[in-house]
Amino acid sequence: MENILEIRNLSVSFASDGVRERAVAVNGVDIDIPRGKTVGLVGESGCGKSVTSLSVMGLLAANGRVEGGSAMFGGQDLLKLNDRQMRQIRGNRISMIFQEPMTSLNPVIPVGKQVAEALRLHTGADAKAAKVRTVEIFGKVGIPEPEKRYGCYPHQLSGGLRQRVMIGMAMILKPDLLIADEPTTALDVSIEAQILRLMRDLQRESGTSILMITHNLGVVAELCDSVYVMYAGEVVETAEVHALFDACAHPYTRGLMASLPRMTPKGQRLYNIPGTVPNLRAMPAGCRFAPRCAFAVERCQNEKPPLITVGDGHCCRCFTPLSRGAAPGGEPL
């Protein structure tokens, strides 16, 4: 299948005050996003999933720097484009939705204007035509009374409505790729389901590919076709969504799944992965997950595992990939 975006060997580092050495937040990441599909990017906070997406968009903070790799999008390497070329793509062919609908909209500009702005910028539409299109997309993303909401300020809308505005803004130009950075994390569960359904419907209609960044495996199961699991700046496992939920191979992925709260007898402790994410400046020499891994053997401490194929389109960065049914700590799930 044709890929709309191919990220190869992407590495990103950050400088911080008073430290000479740059912290490597993303290290040699490969991601493929097929046209019209939804790809999940899963991992804990700080694993580099947002940094990966921001570097593709050219929106890294001033202290961040792409160290190497490529991101091929429609025959162009996004990482090599200058700012002017990148601006042609941003908001037009690749757009983004962010985690915080509360703070992602400008508080002193009416929401309709903020959406129309993207349209006018890339299509040169006049104010009147842009307004008509904006009201239309507001209706499409399920904003009641779209005409009236056009002139509303963000503080007059609920979180769910604001996220719908953000989705409208991102989808108004029918981009090839939508990067959604935890779009439902700040919303309550009933709204979350509505927003996910909305994204899926819009995708079906426009054929947009989605890169869904989340730490919520439920969202992945709901929406994604394939998944990349990231840990400490590296992809540790990738698979079709069914293959992953059926039989994940990396102990970290297994730990993530076991961490989902479920109906357990009262008093039984919730599972969590022991230990913490390693410091970016003090990565373990071998496998980055080894210090927290229940299955680690001596080899894991000293040698870096490569990404190996464990099944059809299923890859895992582990010397001893789990077989079906194994659970962290050796107990069956």
Partner: protein, 303 residues
């Protein structure tokens, strides 16, 4: 919106009355007899008595206070003891000079302060940032009389340094007053803009494909300038009430100079008049700032 403004205006009435009471009381307890101020020495006792009576100086405090309020409401702030002219006329005569100076120095401070603040924020930690923030800090920290004297001395051969001859006489006092205001505005603009630029909605604006220039002008400035605009409104009101020190140093016959001369001459009605005039302008400035705030920030707008 209109209701909000009316409410704010009504609140200022008790503030004004309280303020006049305080000023009136303070100037009453200050030692010194007005009649001896007005008269030369060796004046006949009965003349002094007659004068005291005609000025109602022997009436009880509150009688005099309410008479003053009543007269003030009719536009009469009394007669200057020293100059023997109505205080309102004196203030009205001095105000044009003060107004010109206030408008000029405010414009100067806006035109200098806001762009300098923006450039400093955008080029944070660059040479131009350090340089302009240094000059701003200098303007804010140096006493105006000192800056005024140094400028007078430096430019004495190029520009008029005393009195009002032509528009050129306003240049130096404008710079003296505008420099410190510009410094404050530049520093506030810079710090607000830096804070705003860290917000999520700036990232959203960039993700739409807007150029850095549009991101600043369309998205960041509108947020960053909200506190700056209110500061400008308060600043201009205090400038309108007369910059006593600057006007004195440059011998500009404005409201500030009038107040200074009233203090020197113990001219109570005149001093009272200028202080009340100042206070009204400051209260008015705050009112304007408040209303402006709710006009430009939709979050505060009253539904």
């Amino acid at each position: 919106m209109a209701k909000h403004i009316v409410k704010r205006v009504l609140i200022t009435i008790p503030v004004l009355i309280g303020m006049v009471l305080v000023i009136f009381f303070m100037l009453n307890v200050v030692p010194g007899d007005p009649v001896t101020v007005m008269m030369r020495e060796h004046v006949k006792e009965d003349l002094i008595g007659r004068l005291r009576q005609s000025m109602h100086l022997d009436d009880p405090f509150f009688v005099r206070f309410f008479r003053y309020i009543w007269d003030a409401l009719h536009g009469d702030l009394g007669i200057s003891w020293k100059l023997n002219r109505p205080v309102t006329a004196l203030i009205a005569g001095a105000f044009p000079c003060t107004l010109k100076l206030a408008v000029a120095s405010s414009l100067f401070s806006w035109i200098m302060g806001i762009p300098v603040g923006i450039v400093s924020a955008v080029k944070k930690n660059s040479l131009i940032d350090h340089l302009s923030m240094g000059i701003s800090l200098f303007g804010v920290s140096m006493p105006v009389f000192w800056v005024a004297l140094i400028l007078q001395n430096t430019f004495k051969n190029v520009l008029p340094v005393s009195g009002i001859e032509s528009w050129r006489s306003y240049i130096l006092p404008t710079v003296v007053l505008g420099w410190s205001s510009a410094g404050r505005i530049a520093r506030l603009t810079r710090s607000n803009l830096l804070e705003v630029l860290r917000n999520d909605y700036i990232r959203t604006a960039r993700s739409k494909g807007l150029s850095p220039f549009s991101v600043i002008t369309r998205h960041a400035l509108k947020n960053a300038l909200i506190p700056v605009v209110t500061m400008m409104a308060i600043q201009i009101s205090s400038l309108l009430s007369g910059a006593a020190i600057t006007e004195s140093v440059f011998a500009i016959p404005g409201v500030g100079s009038l107040a200074v001369s009233a203090i020197k001459n113990r001219d109570m009605p005149l001093l009272q008049g200028t202080v009340i005039f100042t206070a009204i302008l400051i209260i008015g400035g705050n009112l304007v700032a408040d209303v402006l705030y709710s006009v430009i920030d939709p979050r505060i707008r009253v539904e």
